[in-house]
């Protein structure tokens, strides 16, 4: 494999890891606060649709982003209502959110755009432009070597949301581990009764966490339809919400590990897209194996054979105040 294709794979790794990273951090906030969320997929999907539709209608990518965040937050609110206020089953609510997004996007998309569920292709201004770093074009010319190549082909030339996603990692770490809000958020996922005793609203904290999840899933979806591709296609998230969930478990609910897990799963995706079957001489690794690898790795991690993944202790349970 030559340098150019190596750089190309790293480049698409970053692109493909971005929606995973947003969704994974989204899940991290929710689950750290004790609200399981298997509805990441649905929120991403509805956000991708709303973003593309609004961007097409107004011609502004930023209106699209806002619409995506809005739609995702609406779905997050449904999940919050079901799992926090009405103390319903959080897993079932997540399943419902996924189906709701899957059905609603097609129904609305088909009747609005008459294109069988997809939005018209987004042209310049309706989608994110790539940002080129200073000197990236000159550094990438000819024989730039590994460092120059990475600078100009891998790090430079992405849309703004890619850098936002990367910046969200230290930000999440800081919020969770260095702020009062983060401490309380983590506490509410481990021992909500203690937080309640301290006079802090469990409900309020959990809604705040679910709200952050909504915003981040909105960004994930917006990137899917306005960054990664130019427009919305039905079921375009294609299981990425579940991969993000897998990455979250793989990262054991910690932000920096989430970045690593998302990059790993993004790399697997990039490799699967580029190489199809990988011929190692002695055996051929089928593309389906590469595609299934994130799920297989997650099961192995869950099984606790390679370091046990322990979820937040109060996760999945609604908090009932003692009377």
């Amino acid at each position: 494999m030559d340098l150019a294709s190596f750089l190309q794979i790293l480049d698409s790794t970053i692109r493909l890891a971005t929606p995973l990273l947003f969704a994974c951090l989204a899940g991290l906030f929710s689950e750290r606060a004790g609200v399981f969320d298997i509805g990441l997929e649905g929120k991403m999907l509805v956000a991708a649709f709303a973003a593309a539709a609004a961007s097409y209608a107004t011609g502004s990518v930023w209106v699209g982003v806002l619409a995506g965040i809005g739609a995702s937050c609406l779905f997050a609110a449904i999940h919050g209502l079901a799992s926090i206020t009405f103390r319903g089953n959080q897993l079932i609510s997540g399943v419902a959110v996924n189906f709701l997004a899957s059905g609603l996007t097609v129904v609305l998309g088909t009747s609005w755009f008459k294109l069988g569920g997809q939005t018209p292709a987004l042209v310049d201004g309706m989608r994110f432009a790539d940002i080129t770093f200073p000197f990236a074009t000159t550094a990438g010319q000819g024989d730039a070597g590994l460092v120059g190549g990475i600078y100009s082909h891998v790090l430079s030339g992405h849309s703004i949301l890619v850098y936002v996603a990367l910046a969200c990692v230290p930000l999440t770490w800081w919020v969770l581990y260095r702020t009062r809000f983060g401490l309380r958020l983590r506490a509410v996922g481990e021992n909500p009764a203690a937080v309640d005793t301290a006079g802090v609203s469990v409900t309020g904290l959990r809604y705040a966490a679910v709200g952050i999840t909504g915003v981040l899933c909105g960004l994930a979806g917006a990137y899917m339809s306005m960054g990664l591709s130019a427009g919305f296609l039905r079921e375009m998230t294609a299981g990425r919400g579940y991969i993000a969930l897998a990455a979250l478990i793989f990262a054991k609910w910690r932000p920096w590990y989430a970045l690593m897990a998302c990059l790993l799963f993004g790399l697997l995706d990039a490799v699967a897209i580029r190489f199809q079957n990988i011929d190692l001489g002695v055996l051929v690794i089928p593309v389906q194996f590469t595609q299934a690898l994130p799920y297989i790795l997650t099961v192995i991690i869950l099984a606790g054979f390679v370091g046990k993944a322990i979820p937040p202790r109060a996760g999945g349970e609604a908090y009932v105040k003692e009377r």
């Binding site: 319903g88 129904v107 089928p286 299934a292 099961v299």
Partner: protein, 363 residues
């Protein structure tokens, strides 16, 4: 908690949830500029108006009875198996291998072979998540979900690389021997003099599904294992104290659940498609969740809920053919049913309890 009379809990709560879901969908249909009343009429006429439409309804219902029973058996043991999709996919592989590799002398023997292979493959796919849950504490919802994706990748590999006939571009197996085609429901009803169309895929598996529902009912409420399952689901600690082994029960529950999911393939793969295609389950594994919730986790409720969802499914196809309303309206309806019956039961139950306390106070 027993503020509601039993009939209200069993009939009224699901019915109200369903009505709310229908109203929401009606609003959605109106919002996209179509007539909700016309839509519901097209659905009813299409799925119940002719024996052919009814056959399609029952064909879909058969799938949902299997997946619904599968979800509910795990639910009874307080385990949420969302891996029905993957287990039914593997069941399809079992059925296809049985039909392709073994030269059965008669369709009835092929049917027995398919039932055994479908159940065995489905159960096998449920085994590992169950074992991981019981022994290693891995959350079964996540593992079964991961196994759905692994099943899909596996099926993709098997169909593209192993089962695809030479020269075919389609990721599907060869057609099964015509002699293995299952008797159509129309032919069976014809024997007893009931005229019923045979142009639809409804087949003998429908009767097997009904029998299985009775079997699951008997298993859950009239056997030692069923008692152990329910006790474990209701109060794990008490069950433990009563000498019920949690590892065994978890594994049994998922083997049963996976096996029943796998049986769905007998209907879809041997009964209808006559070959194995990539997405043979078509989401029925997930609809099983809605069906189990709607049917209040009871086999008879599940049969009724399955027929309802069969109607919705067939009605959705009719909508897509007869109007410009896409069939995904049904997905929305399904989502709302899951939301209201599964995640928001208190929203309906609490006001009802108030009503009953107010007006039914004499009891």
């Amino acid at each position: 908690m027993d503020k509601l009379p039993r009939w209200a809990d069993v009939v009224l709560v699901p019915l109200i949830c369903l009505i709310i879901a229908f109203v929401f969908c009606g609003i959605l249909i109106a919002a996209i500029g179509q007539s909700p009343l016309q839509a519901i009429w097209i659905m009813i006429d299409g799925s119940f108006g002719s024996t052919n439409g009814l056959g399609y309804t029952l064909y879909y219902a058969t799938n949902f009875i299997f997946t619904g029973l599968a979800v509910s058996i795990a639910f009874q043991a307080s385990l949420f198996n969302i891996g029905g999709e993957g287990q039914a996919t593997l069941g399809g592989l079992g059925v296809a291998l049985s039909c392709l590799l073994i030269p059965w002398p008669h369709w009835s023997l092929a049917l027995l072979g398919s039932l055994a292979a479908g159940a065995a493959f489905g159960a096998a796919w449920g085994f590992l998540p169950a074992w991981l849950q019981a022994k290693r504490g891995s959350h079964i919802v996540i593992t079964t979900m991961m196994f759905n994706f692994i099943a899909y990748a596996l099926m993709n590999y098997v169909l593209v690389n192993l089962l695809r006939p030479m020269g075919s571009m389609d990721p599907a197996s060869a057609r099964f021997d015509k002699a293995y085609n299952l008797p159509k429901l129309g032919d069976i009803l014809g024997l007893v003099g009931i005229p019923f169309s045979s142009k639809n895929p409804a087949n003998i598996t429908f009767l097997i599904a009904i029998a299985l529902a009775v079997g699951v009912w008997a298993l859950l409420w009239h056997t030692r294992l069923g008692y152990a399952l329910r006790a474990f689901g209701k109060q794990e600690k008490a069950a433990l104290y009563a000498g019920i082994d949690p590892v065994k029960i978890t594994i049994y529950a998922l083997l049963l659940s996976g096996g029943i999911s796998g049986l769905m393939a007998v209907n879809a793969v041997q009964g209808a498609a006559h070959r194995l295609v990539l997405n043979s389950v078509e989401g029925a594994g997930f609809i099983g969740i809605a069906v189990a919730l709607m049917g209040r986790n009871h086999p008879f409720g599940i049969v009724i809920a399955s027929i309802l969802f069969g109607f919705l499914y067939e009605g959705g196809s009719q909508l897509a053919m007869g109007t410009t309303i896409p069939r995904e309206v049904i997905t929305v309806l399904q989502a709302l049913v899951i939301l209201f019956t599964g995640a928001l039961p208190y929203m309906v139950q609490k006001p009802l309890e108030h009503l009953f306390a107010k007006f039914g106070g004499a009891k």
